[in-house]
Symmetry: C2
Subunit: 333 residues, 2 copies
């Protein structure tokens, strides 16, 4: 296993120490239980927004804590759900009196633990709503998941809901917005190589030198099919067609197109993919009005990509364009 | 070879098409000769700043074109110098009447071609200065290089000089500033794995499963030594010690610490490295006052890191903190 780490069991703790040293202007880091909160939390009168999940998907979620996005993130061990005590402590830390929204990717452990945390928080008198993100069109059920998996769209939900909370919208409004974004966005991913979880010490799966996997999950969960390597343009078509036909998106729609790197994918390749993805969208009469290109939700060092489309309207565009100040995404500040 | 590309010979052109589609608000892209200029170029009365070099190091340089950083970037084929006609066309495109600075990484081909372009531009009556960046302490001479290689510090030179040009400083002042930054910054890198150049189709070098290379260049050029894998903390010490003893940095110095990912390195690992790098700096009495953490100057999908230290003063801090609006680096706008 080739990794720039010390002991596998110390990776997340040492990452948090690095984040704490690097970004004291943006976040505070708490340990045992581990969570990251924005430096000025709780923001009085603002809905607090929390997400979390297994580590190994950086910059998501810890890199998205800050003004205009998340109020807190709860990192679990690599590819392992955080625990209810992390989520409860984070919920209390960001409650500014307007309630707290939990943005939860649809994995069985995450959903269960966030539910327990919400119940505990409510017992203590806090107002909590949870929205589950399940945007992955690749498979219906999967390892770790009943129903569709929550993947790339989560980044967009966090940005858009973060802007809405910053505007002063209510907990119900922000939660409804998260559900709306979840209903309008779809994602599909693929991998050229596996990643290696530090404490496992060997690749999660084997993928021969001449094969790729279409529809894979962000933890290396099985996708739709394995096949011989194809060109970038063919890969884009294999990802875009199931996305477009799912909602379905239709001619005249305006979308945000998000081409994500899985961690080990050179940026040069993401732009090659983006070029083709725009072409495919336009062939369907779909207009790309905003974009995001880069490694925002990763699977450690996996080589591969995911494509997310989100149907936009004037409100979503305004919220997407709003200022954000985090380590992983920044504009206007 | 596992890559998300179409034909190897089309990679750079298709990447440029992707950039053109993705960022029309930031840049204009020209073809044959290929170069990227900021959308409002030439900016009247402002020193124009150009860099360039082989592709495969994204986001450098094309991702750094925009307000507050570069006016143009000239991308060569992967790991291959751009040609003088690209540099000449870019120089003319960004000349706003205050002269043009060429920021050149110290590789024989880049230096020669930028010199030719500067000569041609001067023949046409343009005012051009060139500054060669050579910050890599690993080796004295190398494949492709006489003297030290230009590596991570280039990103910082581009940001700082971009801010100075935006402030209205003269060509001589901006060029002197580039030389000053070059004199105050040092870098060293290492790799866990090789990268694969698309048209080569196989890894640039072989590195056994239990070995790493210390002091490697951004094209996979040989470094100082190969050795058995070590912990992240040991790697940081092996990179920091030659950097600190080179200038030498001394107790009381204030520095910017840049922990760079080589392309295939998970962000979680970069924070683990940053944590230790701060500790090593502090052990020497050196205070880290600014930082940059992420994949900014890459070697395709190589797994590895480089660490750059730049001694700061009040002027450099002000310029580092100034607004920048590019695809690859953004703040304050």
């Amino acid at each position: 296993m080739k990794k720039l780490i010390n002991k596998p069991e110390e990776v997340v703790k040492e990452e948090l120490q690095g984040i704490e040293l690097a970004h004291p202007d943006l976040v505070k880091v708490f340990y045992d239980p581990d969570f990251i909160v924005r430096v000025d939390a709780p923001v009085k009168g603002k809905v607090g927004i929390i997400s979390g999940g297994g580590s190994g998907h950086e910059p998501m979620h810890g890199g998205f804590v800050g003004k205009g996005m998340l109020d807190a993130a709860c990192p679990g061990a690599v590819f392992t759900s955080p625990t209810p005590d992390q989520m409860l402590a984070a919920t209390k830390a960001v409650d500014g009196g307007a309630g707290v929204l939990h943005i939860v990717k649809n994995y069985t452990g995450d959903v269960m633990n966030f539910e327990m945390a919400a119940d505990l928080a409510k017992e203590e008198g806090l107002e909590v709503e949870a929205v589950v993100i399940d945007d992955d069109v690749a498979v219906k059920d999967s390892l770790y998941t009943a129903g569709r998996r929550g993947v790339g769209l989560t980044v967009l939900v966090e940005k858009i809901c973060g802007a809405a909370a910053e505007e002063g919208r209510s907990l119900k409004e922000v939660a409804d917005l998260a559900r709306k974004v979840n209903s309008l966005g779809r994602t599909m991913g693929m991998a050229l190589t596996s990643c290696t979880v530090p404490h496992a010490g060997k690749p999660t799966f084997d993928l021969p030198e001449d094969e790729m996997e279409i529809g894979i999950g962000i933890h290396g969960e099985p996708g739709r099919k394995r096949m011989k390597l194809q060109s970038a343009d063919e890969v884009v078509e294999m990802l875009m067609d199931p996305i477009i036909s799912d909602i379905p998106y239709k001619s005249g729609d305006e979308v945000l197109l998000f081409v994500n790197g899985m961690g080990g994918t050179p940026l040069i390749e993401l732009y090659v993919l983006y070029r083709k993805a725009v072409e495919v969208a336009e062939k369907h009469g779909i207009k790309v009005v905003r974009n995001l290109i880069g490694p925002y939700i990763t699977s450690l060092e996996m080589a591969g990509t995911s494509i997310t489309m989100l149907k936009m309207d004037a409100d979503l565009i305004k919220l997407w364009d709003a200022p954000v100040l985090t380590a992983g995404m920044r504009k206007g500040i």
